[in-house]
Subunit: 214 residues, 2 copies
DNA sequence: GTCTATAGCAGGATAGAC
DNA sequence: GTCTATCCTGCTATAGAC
């Protein structure tokens, strides 16, 4: 009675596929493993998605994209009552949305890992990731920050700054095992707060480099 | 006559394995593909390395590690005539060593891609990468920078800054396709110079966040 | 829409000749 | 050290019963 009898199988497959693709990577995961974890039949993937690659793209279109929407909503809701947010407010909201936002720790990790794979080993989903998510999000961040910068700020340098800030934030997420080893402790709530604080202050100062162009 | 008749096959396999593992990832590459590209026999991998995973680890031990050594040497040689380098000199040398150092563009990309894979999808080589390379390199950077910071600088915050700077630099290397799309142009020499300049100034300013702890 | 069965193939690994 | 031949496993994908 909980579900209106609609395709539960398809959803379970998408859930498990996202998790497994994120953790192990596309080639390392077999359809057998996915359907096994989803408690469905081996043939279900081919029935619902045609083939394995299509399932992978389906994960991006039907799961990953929806998550980015939630992250972005969280980001904007933090700024909702601020018609003209300051730079630290913008950066802080961004870092919080990514590191402590609406996703569970596991979701967040999988989300960034999937993105990460496409960025460093471009595949069929990269174009979508960049054009539908990264480009618009980068632009929105620029537009929010630019009013607080000198009028003659170089557009190209501003873009580099935004990429740096996002790159830094992503890095702290996907390289979590390495960061833990380097810092000598786990990703608990206290450490996440420290990270958000660090990213905000580091990026805020970093942006001041824009004010001193010759 | 060029080579003293020693195991040329083994070396060719390592070369091609590194390239292919970096470009496609461990699971996506077959032994057949590697030995084919290396102009050697299918059985050569098993003869020289025992199995596929051992070849992968061999790539890290016999190729990847050697490259990090060259990058580090390049870094130190830039600072050789400066007994007490300033912060921008240290950061600039680091960025140059990574983005425009002793490696060819292709080598550099493969090098960072391999590292990237281990960081975001931890495997058998991660421990080695972190313990033998990242930990000591992070520490060396800290030791070079600390003398230029206030005495009471928080060690943990300094660590986070170093990780941020390296993360940013790595990001600009491995996410090259995405960065190109976001910036609207290619990675030519001019753009690399701009990147080095950007990283140096952004990181220099970012570090000033350490001076204002309450 | 779900399942079984199986085709058809590619993969890692090894044995044994040279 | 190199090569061929081969084993065996596991994969994707599909056909066809239910």
């Amino acid at each position: 009675m909980t579900q209106p009898t609609t395709d539960n199988t398809r959803e379970r497959i998408l859930d498990q596929a996202e998790r497994l693709f994120a953790v192990k990577g596309y080639e390392a995961v077999s359809i057998r493993e996915i359907t096994g974890a989803a408690d469905s039949n081996l043939a279900a993937v081919n029935y619902h998605f045609g083939n394995k690659m299509n399932l992978y793209l389906g994960v991006f279109h039907e799961r990953w994209l929806e998550r980015t929407r939630r992250i972005r909503e969280n980001f904007f809701s933090q700024l909702a009552d601020k018609p003209e947010p300051t730079v630290p407010e913008v950066i802080g909201a961004m870092a919080r949305a990514f590191l402590d936002g609406p996703l569970s720790d596991e979701e967040r990790l999988h989300h960034v890992q999937l993105m990460q794979r496409e960025l460093s080993h471009p595949g069929d989903a990269l174009k979508m990731v960049v054009e539908e998510v990264m480009l618009p999000y980068n632009q929105q961040l620029r537009d929010l920050i630019r009013p607080n910068l000198p009028k003659n700020t170089d557009e190209e340098r501003l873009r580099l700054c935004i990429i740096s800030i996002l790159g830094m934030t992503l890095y702290f997420t996907f390289a979590r095992p390495a960061v833990s080893m380097l810092m000598g402790h786990d990703y608990n709530d206290q450490f996440k707060s420290l990270l958000i604080e660090h990213i905000t202050s580091f990026a805020l100062k970093g942006l001041t480099a824009l004010k001193e162009e010759k």
